[in-house]
Amino acid sequence: MSRRPDESKQPVVITGVCGGVGRVLLRQLLAETKHPVIGLDKRNWVLDRPDRFDFRRVDLRRGGAEDVFRTVKPHAVVHLAFVSDQTVSRDRRHVINVQGTQRVLEWCLRYGVKKVVLLSRASVYGARPDNPSKISEDMPLKLGAAYAELSDLVEFDHLCRSWMWEHRKLEVVLLRPVHIVGPNIREGMLYRYLQGDPVLRALGFDPMMQLIHEEDVIQAIRLGLKRDARGIYNVAGAGELPLSAVLRALGRRAIPIPHPALALLDRAAFAVGLSKLPSHAVDFLRFGCVVDGSRIRDELGYEPRFDLRRTLDAIPAAPSILE
């Protein structure tokens, strides 16, 4: 039986490396492994460039990106080039999230990449009143059915899933983490929501929430990079707590508003740019979207290192209105 070549020194590509998760992952891979890392992003890398790190400023939709795959022949790819910002137009999100991912997956196949890890999100299940109390990976994704404007998130997830089954020689790991928080995270629905103080909440509703520390997401990605790991995994943090407890722990004041008024208010504020949360976010203030994170624990040995308290402590304070 022939052994595979030493994988520990093979190059790893991170797309969207300038984002919060990308930066933390890069730091850890450089500090704790021997992999050379190639970072791709169309934003510029403004931090210092340590050894074994090669940054290429490329747009995934142009030629330069494919050339990286052609010449470097990466062993593994972590695909993080993804926009979730709902103020970006739907067409543009589709181009980046769906078409961009499609191209990366094609290159992986064409240039002999062994492993690709992709980050979806737990919110693809949607916050619906008929959700089970713990959603497992096999549940249908209801987000797209309820909100056409978010179909790119669901389409991205389905795209990864179909590649997983059609191209068995590429090991695809699709992670669906819950709300990611941490000192480096400056995006996502929960982050934007907690930027407000006071925040608005739906009167009489107090859904259960799940948070995960950025470092625990990195742990899940690194477990996904291990040989033979493949599949779809929910990634949850240390526990569940109601929205009210999150707000209390963070010292945010909350103004309860009846939910029909809240939805109208948010739609108007989003339209004029005052709110960065689209109307579907109101459903996440009413209904839970709690996932069952046991599969990745059982199959890959994932264990969150940050308990609820430390995860909450990692959320940056809301900016003062005076600043």
């Binding site: 509703f205 107090d206 526990g239 209904f287």
Partner: protein, 283 residues
């Protein structure tokens, strides 16, 4: 201002409820919640209110509470009386009279989570919206799950069919086989006369999306008040735990045989309850 709330809190969380709160076996995280949203201090304070209904309004006579084991268990009960007073009384009984006290986890209707306040209160008291998968996870978490296998076939039936067990779903038995949870059959007497319905307006119910729509016998007399449960005497009988073994994916026919055993045990318990009760409105 503060003192009124303190006094209310002392009134709800009296010595009995405080001792129950301390003895509850439920596993919660460092913020006091479990994954399904149960918050024992809130649940116990709410139960202080249902305790009044349990003791003084329904004058409940609970028997066989020692049959509720301490670990995972499925309570299987008969269902009737339009509104789930049976669930409320059995659940209150399991907290007040079982040792250790058990918070009963029941499945609520799927529209409950769309209601403000009620959705939150139900969740904090341990009631969940869920499917069989959720039930399995609850049992694996050593919880006490209440199932009415008759579903709306039981609760929606008219007064003429009281205490006649309707067709049982089989899901609970498959769950018991899968998780190894013992089944405690429960016979509830009193609920099935609490809103005596003489007719089920199925057509109108379908129109408004309700599973059934009762016409209470007291409607001409009481008007809308007839939809409030009458102060019937409740007699609960919790039977001895039944242990089943076998393939959880066996055919419906094989599982039905086991379900029949539970149904027979429940018939006996209901019979005992009816015999023990001196009258529908007895003291």
């Amino acid at each position: 201002m503060g003192s009124i709330w303190d006094r209310l809190d002392r009134f709800l969380l009296d010595d009995e409820m405080r001792s129950i709160l301390e003895r509850l076996p439920n596993k919660v995280n460092e913020f006091g919640y479990d994954a399904w949203g149960l918050h024992p201090p809130t649940a116990v304070r709410s139960l202080a209110i249902t305790r009044f209904l349990y003791r003084h309004y329904f004058r409940t006579d609970a028997n066989g509470m020692e049959n509720i084991p301490s670990g995972r268990v499925l309570l299987i009960a008969n269902h009737g009386g339009q509104f789930p007073m049976d669930g409320l009384v059995a659940g209150t009984g399991a907290v007040l009279e079982a040792d250790p006290p058990r918070i009963v986890r029941a499945m609520v209707e799927r529209w409950v989570p769309t209601l403000p306040f009620a959705s939150t209160l139900f969740a904090r008291c341990g009631q969940i919206v869920g499917n069989r998968e959720d039930c399995r996870k609850l049992l694996e978490n050593e919880e006490c799950v209440l199932v009415f296998p008759e579903g709306v076939r039981g609760s929606g039936k008219t007064i003429w069919h009281r205490y006649e067990l309707q067709r049982f779903g089989l899901g609970f038995m498959r769950l018991a086989l899968e998780t190894g949870a013992p089944i405690v059959p429960v016979g509830i007497v009193g609920s099935e006369e609490s809103i005596p319905s003489v007719y089920d307006m199925k057509a109108i119910a379908r129109l408004i999306g309700a599973p059934y729509l009762p016409v209470p016998a007291t409607l001409p007399l009481l008007g809308p008040l007839s939809f409030l449960p009458l102060p019937t005497k409740f007699v609960l009988h919790f039977g001895e735990p039944m242990h089943f073994e076998g393939d959880p994916d066996a055919s419906d026919a094989e599982v039905s045989d086991k379900v029949e055993q539970v149904k027979d045990a429940m018939r006996d318990l209901i019979e005992r309850g009816l015999k023990k009760r001196r009258g529908i409105f007895a003291r």
